[in-house]
């Protein structure tokens, strides 16, 4: 397999380009999208690369069409991705829920810009954190990853595909306009060095017949490929293990939804990822995710120079959320600060986790600029 970009070496590319290349190395061979600032370069790269790796890149009529197309492609056996920004992500919500309900592995990239509505198309924001978790209706569970560098955008894209395949679930990669467009050194590994996970396929007649069963007890049903084996019924309606609609039986609905919750929450330790910086002896902690984490690392260094024992917990996974870890942190520190580029979203999760064991203060910023390190440090000093 020849790749249409150099591998096994450093490159200097935009976050969007890194996401496209990572998707291809993770095995993505179907992309459907609708252009939108600041995510369009992902589509541009996919349009260029896909024909060169025997994949397909298609422009759909809108964003809900795009996510519908990748759901279909996934059932046909392809690893599939779409990318958008706030307005398009809103349009995708219905089918994001469909992907949860039908347990379809897909990767949806949302490069956040200022909102609501069309808002500030070219400027970064983090206003879609809650939407990425709870945007679609009904009880549902999915995975949300949030990179802070171009290297993380690359690495987390590969991880997004692996988690989607492993847990048969949609995964949202939540970036922002800053990461989308900044160019940065990124190591593009040799394809042999990339860990690629593929979905479980049915291995027996029984498994083929029960595409929504739980034959291995891990909550993750093997996923058949359309056209190979039996006819498979896929519906967003509540369904039994065969896939047939069963819309009024309480126990069937409960069993299905609880399995979908359980296959993610039961594997939290595998899914949740974070990084600690100067946290061991910290007196005050900063909890952040995405681009703001980089300002926060700098702020911690500045605060340490001034003798303030500050530390950072940088979340790579936004959902599922490790409430217990935050509670343990709250027991160790005097105060937790949450800088984010919105008027308070991650803050509420941290506050719930801290459970009153430490004071939690929001450092909000909107308008299109990332917090400066000084803005965070000054708030912490008080």
């Amino acid at each position: 397999m020849r790749y249409p970009f150099p591998t096994g070496k450093n490159d200097f590319i935009q976050g969007n380009e890194a996401i496209a290349r990572a998707a291809i190395l993770a095995g993505c061979r179907f992309y459907a999208g609708y252009p939108i600032t600041p995510a369009s370069e992902i589509f541009e790269a996919m349009a260029l690369y896909m024909p060169l790796v025997d994949g397909v890149s298609i422009q759909m009529e809108d964003e809900i069409g795009s996510i519908a197309a990748i759901i279909g492609a996934s059932w046909a056996g392809a690893k599939a991705m779409t990318a958008t920004s706030g307005p398009g992500f809103s349009l995708m919500q219905e089918n994001l829920g469909y992907a949860v309900m039908t347990e379809t592995p897909i990767v949806v990239v949302n490069m956040m810009r200022g909102g609501p509505s069309t808002g500030q198309p070219t400027l970064p924001a983090q206003g879609d954190i809650m939407q990425s978790i709870w945007g679609t209706h009904g009880d549902h569970m999915l995975i949300v990853l949030s990179p802070s560098t171009v290297q993380e955008a690359f690495d987390f894209t590969i991880r997004a595909f692996n988690l989607a395949e492993k847990y048969r679930t949609p995964v949202v990669l939540l970036g922002d306009a800053e990461i989308a467009h900044m160019r940065e050194r990124v190591y593009i590994p040799h394809p042999d060095d990339v860990e690629v996970i593929n979905r479980k396929l049915p291995e027996s007649e029984e498994e083929h017949k029960l595409p929504f069963g739980d034959p291995h007890g891990d909550g993750i049903p093997p996923m058949p490929i359309f056209g190979r084996g039996y006819r498979t019924y896929v519906t967003g309606l509540t369904h039994d293990e065969i896939g047939h609609p069963k819309t009024v039986e309480a126990e069937i609905h409960e069993r299905l939804i609880k399995r979908i919750y359980g296959k993610i929450l039961g594997h939290r330790e595998d899914i949740i990822s974070y990084e600690e910086f100067e946290l061991e002896d910290a007196d005050v902690a900063i909890v952040s995710t995405g681009i703001v984490s980089r300002s926060a690392i700098r702020a911690v260094k500045m605060l340490r120079e001034k003798g303030v024992k500050a530390g950072l917990l940088k979340l790579h996974t936004v959902w599922p959320f490790d409430f217990d870890m935050i509670e343990e942190l709250a027991e160790r520190v005097r105060k937790i600060y949450v800088p984010e580029m919105n008027l308070g979203q991650l803050y509420h999760l941290v506050k719930e986790g801290a459970d009153g064991k430490a004071e939690v203060e929001l450092i909000p910023k909107i308008g299109g600029e990332v917090h400066t390190p000084m803005e965070i440090a000054e708030k912490v000093v008080g």
Binding site: N10, E184, R185, I297
Partner: protein
């Protein structure tokens, strides 16, 4: 070693490309860490334009330029906006024809090289638009941010096919001028 470089001017002068090439030289050909951010108006030409490049021998936390160690200012607007944000003792390259009004007080604490860069580019290659590449050569040679070979390779990666020789000519002229500046002859 964190070094911050700022390029600013108006759209069409190749300000952002200059930043991309410098970042690429550092990240790909010098094995340093580098990040390039940018800001520009909605216009494709004529609007204010800025590229920031941060280069370091360790992973870069805050990716934006806070107080530039080096700045290249191609317009009066860019000069007015950024001359006061420089780190003390920083180096500034100014397109003197396009920056008629200068702040001598602010320049006292800086190393300032004011040159008719557009004209120099035109003399060298016959094309004023090679000014950004000439200036890159000048900046790199005068300051040693990255090596000659690294910037040369990054220029070759970035410029359109068929214009390699032209751009190298501009870059090499920049090296010459930069060397003279560095050695205090200009």
């Amino acid at each position: 070693m964190r070094k911050e470089v700022l390029f600013s001017g108006f759209g069409g002068q190749g300000v952002i490309l200059a930043g991309v090439i410098l970042g690429r030289a550092a990240a790909v050909y010098e094995d340093l860490y580098a990040v390039q951010t940018q800001a520009y108006g909605p216009e494709s030409r004529g609007g204010a334009s800025m590229a920031g490049v941060v280069i370091s021998d360790e992973p870069i936390d805050y990716p934006k330029v806070m107080a530039p160690d080096y700045a290249v200012l191609f317009s009066q607007e860019a000069y007015n906006k950024y001359i006061h944000s420089m780190r003390k003792g920083g180096t500034v390259v100014v397109e003197e024809e396009l920056v008629p009004s200068r702040d001598t007080a602010a320049e006292k604490s800086l190393k300032v090289y004011a040159l008719p860069l557009t004209e120099l580019a035109e003399q060298t290659t016959g094309l004023s638009l090679t000014m950004n590449i000439l200036t890159l050569g000048l900046l790199v040679e005068a300051t040693g941010i990255v090596g000659r070979e690294a910037i040369e390779r990054a220029v070759l990666d970035a410029v359109p096919k068929g214009t390699e020789e032209l751009n190298l000519k501009a870059l090499h002229r920049g090296f010459e001028i930069g060397a003279r500046i560095r050695d205090g002859e200009s």
